[in-house]
Amino acid sequence: MKAKIRKIAVFVEETQREMDREISPPARKAAAVAVIENPYAGKFVDDLSELMGIGEELGELLTTRALAALGIPGPSAESYGKAAAVGENGELEHAAAILHPKLGTPVRRVLGKGAALIPSSKKRGGLGVVLDIPLGHKDAAFVRSHFDAMEVRLNDAPRANEIMVAIAVTDGGRPIPRVGGLTKDQIKGEDGLR
């Protein structure tokens, strides 16, 4: 493992009731978060390939952890998202290096499919910074019922020389979707959009 991991946290949220209506089955979201050492903290480095490799590792590890926490097989996952927060001695581009070049392939391998772009967010921040991981349907980005987000936060991360990386996976959309748009049973699943 290239990544030097200080800690891993896994969150599972289960919404059973919204506005006093029972949600059956409950809407579930899981996020797996790794806090890793930033190999480039405190210096400007042009070639970010080490972080790209770390992104590849974390794509597999965090997706596997999130799926295991939901207790479902990969193809049953409906939406996904990713996010990273870089500690103060790093730069935003470090988050981009982890998230964008290589992380997606193992995510899709673990889930079985995933034609849609994996929605993402990134920021720099201090300990306790909040990550709002954007969520979208994994096979068709336009599925409106699955536009969502999951907030995660660790009070002790990221330290100045660390990066916090998160992947979220769900087994459904928002609890009571009713704003129209493309529905999941209309997905063609060819272009990742519809």
Partner: protein, 200 residues
């Protein structure tokens, strides 16, 4: 339904399970990573909005939820109750409730963890507060057999961005599998526990 007052069943809006696996904190990587888990449940506060004198019956109503949360924690930590060494509990009461409503969690929360862990002697460390959505709670953690075990004094921060709403209570239980990852400030050790009074 037990108790003097007639309450609605416990209405759960959402639940959260969080498991942290800590490999190191700047020192040597632990041979066995420390794991800490929190179970949260957001429930409707049946007493929100007015002063109710007799609230004790709700403690019984909370027992099944407490047991379910305690079992979920053991499962999240790998399924073996014997692996659990530390615990704690807490509550955040939404703004239309009072701190006393949070105190209703002491008995069912503590009872549930003792029941599931079997033979835990130490008092369950706890904290509670009134707060709005997004309020964070530092749930204190101590050794399940002996409160004075210094290596196991810890805390886990929990919270949910959308809870508790005014008429809700957020309930929390926490369990850990061991000492702080680089514990080295002395005091009573887990290996020195007598296990008679829950303290040492």
């Amino acid at each position: 339904m037990k108790g003097a007052t007639c309450m609605p069943d416990v209405a759960v809006r959402k639940r959260l399970i969080c498991v942290e696996e800590i490999f190191h904190e700047g020192g040597r990587v632990a041979a066995k990573p420390l794991r800490r888990a929190a179970a949260l449940a957001v429930i409707r506060n049946p007493f929100a909005g007015s002063y109710v004198a007799d609230i004790q019956g709700f403690m019984d109503d909370l027992k099944p939820l407490g047991l379910d949360m305690a079992r979920a924690l053991v499962a999240a930590l790998g399924g073996d109750a014997k692996a659990v060494e530390g615990y704690g509990k807490g509550a955040i009461v939404g703004s239309a409730g009072e701190i006393e409503h949070g105190a209703l969690w002491h008995v069912p929360g503590g009872y549930a963890m003792r029941e599931v862990l079997g033979g835990a002697k130490a008092i369950v460390a706890s904290t509670k507060k009134v707060g709005g959505p997004g309020t964070r709670l530092d749930v204190p953690i101590t050794h399940i057999q002996a409160s004075y075990v210094r290596s196991h004094f810890d805390a886990m921060e929990v919270g949910l961005n959308d809870a508790p709403c005014a008429d809700e209570v957020l309930l929390a239980l926490v369990m850990t599998t061991g000492a702080r990852v680089h514990a080295r400030v002395g005091g009573l050790k887990a290996s020195e526990i007598k296990g008679e009074d829950g303290l040492r």
